[in-house]
Symmetry: C2
Subunit: 727 residues, 2 copies
């Protein structure tokens, strides 16, 4: 258990100049075969991908390059909309990719970004009866080491929360989860119209704000409790220092003004008042300043599980202790929403099948320096692109299908670059994309690989990790020679395979899987699956932080690069796509069993059987087995035509799970996995059904809605099964 | 001008037994290549399609077969849900297709069908102050020739209008179009709560009911005015006899209880109260009975243009003349909605590209005997399938792509069979269908071909009609040797090409184009493009009617069969798909010009320019030209890979125009063509935009909605352009 003593530090406030920076950008690089556009000349490509080519690729990927990339990317703060991100880095990546990829395109979008107002600092304060305000929290963080003091670090704010002043009694609400608020209601605590104070963790911060709104709070203060993030902090360790805080966005839906459509110049914008953006003031603070408030709170002692890592008894609040009993908490925010241009930058076009795409993407923008988030990923993707392009340049290999390298803008504000791009190219992706590989933070720890993916990719991921060398020499000597071995060792002593997570939201894979039904995987190296690293979204997420505490030799970065590159090369060049329908039916079966266990009795009691659902999963399984076995039977004698039929059926499977009407009240279309209703970071299995059951159990839904969602789920499973067949 | 004297005939009522018939059905036949499923053996196919093969096909198609087919199909009434349609004909077609197609599948659906209650006849009556009702209209039609008196002819009703009694003052409302009701409002006629009486024609009958509802009428009586349908009627001529009436449905959205989803057994049904079905009583009557009412109407004389073909002055009503001044009109309906099973029956699977589909479909169910509607089409499609299969059997030809023959059930009730099927196979169609060819009524006249289609198919249709011989020998001697020549001659003396209509709704192509973006064409031979034939949906739509008045030698039927077969064979076997993107850009340009002419000034005055739309059409044109020219450059030296890329870009174009959010308030997704808001039969160009402009002009919409729709239109044109390109 991470519980570190709390040390208050003095505050440091400075005025930031970044708000006037212009332009946002998203880039994609494309590696295209020699047979440009309509194939005037036959390509000089080598389709084979084998152990020898793989080894060449491993040899080509250099830790020194990744390190150099990261250093260059993190030299200055580069949040979305800043000159550093939208001009300097976009230009640099474009130039780099143009030097070795076949084609680079920039996709600019005009989107609504949210910023704090540097001339009107946000704060949380103690409002006295005479109207004076004391204990104002810091707008900025204190630089603790060299190079952290660059101008342009974005101050403390939560993107897309409104500006204004609000005051009220202060309550401590633990993590601001639905169950936390429900616990308070059970304890008969009346927090209507109050300011809530919650610690970061467990769920997406935007859901915390949404919960506070839903439970009629008028404001929310978020802090990084040392129990979850802190301790004897940076630069002594990788723990968050007392003065550090986590900024971030409260939405994950792309540009708020152009829902469902790309934010081109010609696109109509809805009014801000028509959006679903947060309606209450909210503000993040450091734990040294949270201490000032928590330590003064009155009210009952909070439940044991709510006690955090600061050296004080956490109380539920509602009032302050003497001599502050007549004070209230105030939140002042001066946040502004600004229309800005965002770019996406790059494409290796395939020889035989140039209109089938294997896509890799990573975001460029960072809240501060982006040492881990996301520049560790950008550094890796740049090296993957360079290494693959080098093999192509040297005539050693060329993909059969087109490789697309994407560099997203404005991810931190709400997956904006990737969302707008997938909205713009929706049909092309729906009809032609084979797979999407996402890397956000590439390395946040050295313990093990962590992967979340759609099931057709499971076996490709396992096979890849079984051939990528373990970056940890000690572990190799412990008879764990590959990434797979340690992954299995750390994660699942009692099962045969390490678990692969489900995709919810929180990074740029979201719209690929949730809107376009493209098989997707999210990859990173991590220390622990259940928390983010301490300096996440703080001033201290720097190159030094990476070098000192996370991946000093950049060998875990190289391992992630190798995993990603091997997946890309396999997916883009094996004649038969390495996608497994059988893994999907196994997954459906286990999800069904879980549903049966958790809700079967309840549904039964309400006259609902799961027999139809079971039967459709059986039908899916039958189609999957036929396709799987047909795929396995292919060999060098097989005709291109036959293989193509199999490949198209393989990559189309997830399209069958899309319901274009969307899940109830949501933009998401995938009926098997979706961002969980009460935590967008995690994935909900059978989301329509589980939400309907939840709503029924909480008296906010009807039996008919459960029946309807079970019907939609069964029909879409049949639809996916149908795509594995022909007439 | 068709204005025929009115001759009253006596009524004839009989009890019908068909309501208890069980089961509805839709069938599809599939012609599949020898390389079944996963291609265990290489197919013995001949891909070439050329003049020689075409001539063999022409020779194979026999008028005598079509005649025989029609006779067998029309021997008994066969409305949706009847034993004759859902058992006898489904079995017969399945057996026939199994004898020459590779695979036949039946797709059963449980759908809500609407019927009159034979034990509680529907009528319109004159309600006297003492409560007695006289002048009750006939429930059934009088058989006028032999073979019209089979049991099971469905009586007078409008499908999906509710049962019940309603009475009120009677008004004559011309065609019950929006402009007719608006004219009455201008004339200060107060018809709120009244019963309206309207003649058939100009717009879809369901829109007449919707209009009556919208303008607060409580009931609607529809009659076939002799001006539009009647005269010295059948059997003396093809005009509707005085006792004949037109039954029909009031909705075109497929099964009302399963919107957006296929009506499988496991599918959840919404409540009838949640549907959009008609809420007011409505009933169709013959013109001899309409005369009884129209001739007694009081009120002002109706406008000149409202005067119909009966020998009486049409008045606006509101009251009856003496001695009926205290009477009201009453509608009594006993219609019932019943859950029934509908089937679709058949597939020639292609050799090289078995997962690309060229589909032909026609409905099987008829309101009565189906002499023209639809069995003339079924007779043709059966012969097309037989003839193509014969070429395959004899080893003369085999398609490269899969041919799918569909036989739809329950079209008359609202396109139910095709809608449910496309909802079930939505993703397969979206991802893999090349084109859909629809034949409903194959022949309703001998003057000329009539075609409506999506633009990529224009040139294929023109080229096909230029090689199909003119079925009219006289015209050949007048130097019009082909179907094309007469089509051009009849339709467009001042232009180079005969006009091809836009696809709205009204037959089974609807969901293919409007929901799945599949290039579609609707074909028939006709006498006049602007009206339906007189016996439409009446008792007299029989084999005899066809043989005596429409196509005695079945040579026009053969011509339609040849047009359809040639299109299928070209689309399924030419290496490069005969689809023209340039025709689409020309169409967009002309639609833009029309929008500019009709609304440019109005929009300008409201601060809206069409420059963005223009620019996207230019971008579409550029992409279209590049793709068109790439397609034209292909030759025998071209690689299969290269041609495949071009083909996929060609057939995917219409997918780009789909907006999965749907047009505002509608289920339709295609932003270029959609069923017109006030007449589902006709197609609206740029429907989102034109509706938004209409709403703005009628103060029921906002400028912002116009801007939003212009934005969506422009974005989807860009999306379609995007599909013609790669990275």
């Amino acid at each position: 258990v991470k519980r570190k003593p709390f040390t208050p530090l003095h505050r440091c406030l400075f005025i930031l100049c970044s708000v006037v920076a212009a332009g946002l950008s998203i880039g994609i690089g494309v590696l295209i075969g020699k047979n440009v556009r309509y194939n005037q000349e036959l390509p000089n490509y080598q389709l084979d991908y084998n152990d020898k080519i793989r080894q060449m690729m491993f040899d080509e990927i250099q830790t020194t390059n990744i390190k150099k990339n990261l250093h260059e990317l993190t030299v200055k703060p580069h949040e979305a909309g800043s000159h550093q991100d939208e001009v300097v880095l976009v230009d640099s990546i474009e130039k780099t990719w143009k030097s070795y990829l076949d084609k680079v395109e920039i996709y600019p979008y005009n989107v609504l970004l949210s910023y704090p107002n540097v001339t009107d600092p946000n704060y949380v304060g103690l409002l006295h009866p005479n109207g004076s305000v004391t204990m104002k929290t810091n707008f900025t963080e204190k630089p603790l080491v060299k190079n952290e003091d660059q101008p342009g670090v974005i101050p403390s704010f939560l993107a897309y929360t409104p500006s204004g002043d609000v005051s009220g009694n202060l309550f401590y609400v633990n993590y601001a989860r639905v169950e936390d608020f429900e616990e308070l209601l059970k304890l008969k605590v009346n927090f209507t119209g109050a300011i809530c104070m919650a610690r970061y963790g467990h769920i997406f911060r935007g859901d915390k704000v949404k919960n506070a709104e839903k439970f009629n709070c008028f404001g929310l203060v978020l802090f990084s409790d040392p129990y979850d993030y802190g301790g004897n902090g940076y630069p002594n360790s990788w723990w968050l220092p007392p003065s550090g805080f986590q900024r971030g966005s409260t939405q994950l839906d792309g540009d708020p003004l152009t829902p469902d459509y790309p934010a081109l110049d010609l696109t109509h914008r809805i009014q801000e008042s028509e959006t679903n953006l947060a309606k209450i003031q909210a503000q993040p603070i450091s734990y040294e300043q949270a201490y000032e408030y928590i330590s003064k709170l009155g009210g009952a002692v909070a439940p044991e599980a709510w006690q955090g890592g600061m050296n004080v008894t956490y109380r539920l609040g509602g009032s302050f202790q003497h001599p502050h009993e007549n004070c209230k908490a105030e939140i002042h925010t001066g946040n502004v929403n600004v229309l800005k241009k965002v770019h996406n930058v790059g494409t290796l076009r395939g020889g035989q099948d140039p209109d089938k795409y294997v896509i890799i993407g990573n975001h460029r923008d960072a809240w501060t320096y982006g040492g881990l988030d996301p520049s560790s990923g950008t550094a890796v993707v740049l090296e993957v692109a360079r290494a693959i392009a080098a093999l192509v340049r040297d005539g050693k290999w060329r993909p059969r299908r087109t490789l697309v390298f994407c560099n997203w803008g404005a991810e931190e504000h709400g997956l904006i670059g990737s969302t707008e791009w997938t909205e713009q190219l929706e049909k092309r992706l729906l009809l032609r994309a084979i797979a999407y590989i996402n890397i956000d933070i590439a390395v946040q720890g050295s313990a093990t690989l962590r992967a979340s993916a759609t099931p057709t990719l499971y076996s490709a991921i396992y096979n890849t990790t079984k051939v990528v060398p373990n970056p940890n020499i000690d572990e190799i000597s412990q008879n764990r020679p590959t990434v797979f071995d340690t992954w299995l060792d750390k994660k699942a002593r009692n099962i045969n395979l390490p678990p692969i997570g489900n995709l919810g939201s929180g990074s740029d894979y979201t719209t690929f899987i949730q809107k376009c039904g493209v098989a997707s995987v999210d990859l990173r190296y991590t220390f622990d699956e259940r928390m983010s690293y301490p300096s996440y979204h703080s001033l201290h997420d720097t190159f030094d932080y990476m070098e000192n505490f996370v991946d000093p030799e950049f060998k875990y970065s190289k391992a992630i690069a190798e995993v990603a590159a091997d997946l890309m090369m396999k997916l883009s060049s094996l004649p038969v796509l390495p996608l497994s329908p059988n893994d999907y039916s196994a997954k459906l079966k286990s999800m069904f069993q879980k549903l049966q266990e958790t809700s079967g009795e309840f549904l039964n009691a309400n006259g609902i059987q799961l027999t139809n659902l079971k039967s459709t999963i059986d039908q899916f399984k039958e189609a999957a087995e036929a396709l799987n076995s047909a795929a396995e039977k292919q060999n060098e004698e097989s005709s291109d035509d036959e293989i193509r039929v199999i490949n198209e059926r393989l990559f189309e499977i997830d399209r069958g799970f899309l319901d274009f009407k969307g899940l109830p009240g949501q933009q998401w279309r995938h009926v098997i996995f979706a961002p969980a209703s009460h935590n967008s970071y995690s994935a909900s299995g059978f989301p329509g059904v589980t939400d309907a059951i939840y709503n029924l159990q909480h008296s906010t839904g009807t039996l008919d809605e459960v029946r309807q969602q079970l019907s939609v789920l069964a029909l879409k499973i049949l639809s996916a099964a149908d795509l594995m067949k022909g007439f």
